[in-house]
Symmetry: C2
Subunit: 470 residues, 2 copies
């Protein structure tokens, strides 16, 4: 990328540093990372790791070799999310096709506000939004890629707010009391977003869940009645398809009926569970989702696409743009705004989060995702069998999806999780179900075998035995 | 990544597709992309491009070869932002070190909520926030990486809102009239964010700019006085360091004095111009920025890091977390929340936007960025000399930074821009300065030579002659 210059400008400050091929270097380090797929780095406390590394940007430039050494030391001290020992989050593993799409997204580096700036990448994004909308059950729909499930929920809640309270976007709130309804098991972004949107965190009514972690529809009706009597304006209902800890699915059809009766917006947070729409066998878990007004779906969770890849989908085409459009003539040039997603985005400059999913979907097809979901469920089923066969392990709830929550006799869930993390054995999260501390195994990585799940439980037993000894 | 499986699960649905090396394939396609650095694809209208491509996800899986062919057809029809013919946005070019950091970010795929989930990557992010804060003039500061300059402004405006109106996050707005102040030349995200935050788009007072596009401090005082007399509560002042069209810098020190007198939050939107803090010679352009309460700075613009890389920085350490924290025990585990940036983020799951900048800064050092800024300014100076030497070109304003706004005699700015785009000659934006249509040349790519700038103007003259002929 280096070139002659007639102005006498110095070479320093150029971006193309001309030292060998950056792709060779990236591939070499990537292969070293992947060679560690069986391991996880033991993480001592952050202060110690900080002391081992020299992180502050230097005053002077350094040769690329020194930089790549430092980069490796840092990556070495990073949890390996794609290997056999990562069960900590709702994502895991690595998908080659998605990775290819994402690496090329980075190299192409287009900003997704306009067709002028991003060309055909805009069209791939549109095709995906339509395809995902069709899986929700909408022949025509609107939507946006956002930087994560919380932000997709945010976009949906923004549009719901503006639909329930016309004029708020222009003139602000008038002070009337407001309410929104979600299950006690819903994601923390619901209340956080209510705070950001000016609805107030207090306006969130956490509706009791039943024994399976699903929103109780009778309790929802009661809460709506109570607020109606008190003169409180209902703004939206948020149902969850796949709760974070238990993986529970709220009963969407009856909730949608309540929403329709009351004229209240229904958002479905399918960040985690939306992917079940790709399995004809499991779609019934989200029965009625086509009756919702908006839908969140993260492809970086069960679909295995690199972080982040989240969409907010809307049944009605006009509303998203109404909540987000600002005229900016220096930006929105030449084309029909239908092809300028910047007028329907939370952001202005925006990286392309769609191309990785587009590439992966081209590779796997709908059928590949169907098979992927079945693999994830089969691994979870296997985990349940292991737990049921072992008297020292107890299933806390029968799983509704790929989260398996369990206890170990005589060992605290948190302590088990912490010990395995500290020692670099594996990463798994702990949580609480009905106030009971549990270990949460998420079977998100379809490249694992049942033997890997067996190995997971061997580590759990090891940790428990260590803790009992203390 | 393929492995034996004892459960009889089918191979379909696996992520590791086991067909050769995805890194070799990515490198091969990347080199093809880079070989086009002298060209830009002629973009006909989106409907035609859409018809040329088969974009909908298929039902069945396809071999990787077919997928990479489709991917290439799509990338071919994408504007080349890193080559010699891209002047359309506030970013351009390609930085090898930043690219290396970003490619490895993708491969590592860690989510940046907790130290448990992202390890040393959290520490690199912290080191950068501190370093960038020190450049603003803050020995200690708080901050967050956000998905773009608009969202950094959003985070700052959220915190400003919650500082001015205690209780809003919890209880919502009480309906009292509010006002915020920004220049008529400021970025469109200010008003857009006011709508999202519940402040109301109407609450934004657009303060007149002077002949150089800088906010008039006397007009700001007048607007504050008028609102005070009318009983309107002032929420924040937003100064701009580097406006989008002209690249103008508001006079921060006198604005900060007004903000301090009135006890109003001052945010500086340095998304574009913040990088001038890295040039000791040009830092005076942002004189007084250390008196602000918050600061937006995009590294994906003048610093040449892949999209997106934006920070919101805060002088006071406690406020960001107060506006964003939600307890979520299943997530925030084990460590001091000081090392869990999820409690200070707009998002929950979050990709690492910091590692590319960390890698690039390690490579170039502070001095490299100083030189980079000088190269960008030298190219803009050269462009000014070309314009002044050509009677058919007129400078619309003397540039304050690397934006050069000019007119061509006898040819409409928009038509020139559109023709060059349609024909695949180059990408350049048009805008309006004081109501006059102008072409906006942004000299953001330090790898260009003065000969490339000469070539840019040759194309402008060609387009103008074509249009005059019609």
């Amino acid at each position: 990328m280096q070139q002659a210059d007639q102005s006498g400008l110095r070479d320093a400050g150029r971006g193309g540093t001309g030292e060998g091929d950056v792709f060779d270097l990236a591939a070499e380090i990537s292969r070293r990372l992947i060679a560690r797929d069986g391991e996880i780095y033991p993480l001592p406390d952050p202060h110690r790791v900080e002391a081992e590394l020299d992180l502050t940007p230097p005053r002077r430039s350094q040769p690329m070799e020194a930089v790549s050494d430092r980069l490796w030391r840092l990556l070495e001290r990073t949890p390996n999310t794609s290997g056999k020992r990562y069960f900590n989050q709702l994502f895991a593993g690595r998908d080659d096709a998605a990775l290819l799409g994402e690496l090329l997204t980075v190299v192409a580096n287009n900003s997704m506000y306009t067709f002028k700036a991003a060309g055909a990448q805009i069209l791939a994004e549109r095709a995906l939004l339509r395809h995902m909308g069709s899986k929700v059950g909408w022949a025509d729909c609107d939507g946006a890629f956002t930087p994560g499930g919380s932000m997709s929920n945010y976009a949906a809640m923004l549009v719901a707010r503006d639909a329930a309270l016309p004029g708020v976007r222009e003139h602000g709130f008038d002070g009337r009391p407001l309410a929104m309804y979600t299950s006690a098991e819903s994601h923390y972004s619901i209340r956080k977003n209510a705070g950001m949107l000016g609805l107030g965190r207090d306006s969130v009514r956490f509706i009791e869940a039943d024994a399976d972690g699903r929103m109780r529809v009778d309790a929802l009706r009661d809460a709506l009645d109570r607020d109606q009597r008190a003169g409180v304006t209902p703004v939206m209902i948020v149902a969850t398809a796949g709760t974070t800890v238990q993986g529970a699915f709220d009963p969407i059809r009856p909730i949608a009926q309540v929403a329709r009766e009351r004229g209240v917006w229904l958002h479905v947070d399918g960040a985690f569970g939306g992917t079940l729409l790709l399995s004809p066998k499991r779609r019934h878990t989200l029965d009625g989702c086509e009756l919702a007004d908006s839908f969140t779906w993260d492809a970086h969770k069960m679909m295995g696409v690199p972080l982040t890849c989240s969409v907010a989908l809307f049944r009605n085409r006009a509303l998203l743009q109404r909540s987000l459009d600002e005229s900016a003539t220096y930006l929105f040039q030449r084309d029909d705004d239908d092809y300028n997603p910047g007028v329907r985005s939370l952001q202005c400059g925006r990286r392309n989060d769609a191309l990785k999913l587009w590439t992966a979907w081209q590779r796997h097809g709908d059928e590949g995702y169907e098979a992927r979901v079945e693999r994830q469920f089969a691994l979870a089923d296997h985990a349940v069998r292991v737990i049921e066969a072992d008297p020292q392990l107890t299933l806390v709830k029968r799983p509704q999806s790929i989260n398996v929550c369990f206890e170990v006799a005589g060992a605290d869930a948190r302590q088990v999780s912490d010990l395995l993390d500290r020692e670099g054995r594996l990463k798994v999260s702990h949580g609480a179900v009905d106030g009971r501390p549990t270990i949460r195994l998420v079977c998100a990585n379809p490249d694992l075998s049942t033997a890997d799940i067996d190995e997971f439980f061997a580590e759990i037993r090891w940790a428990a035995s260590q803790l009992r000894r203390v």
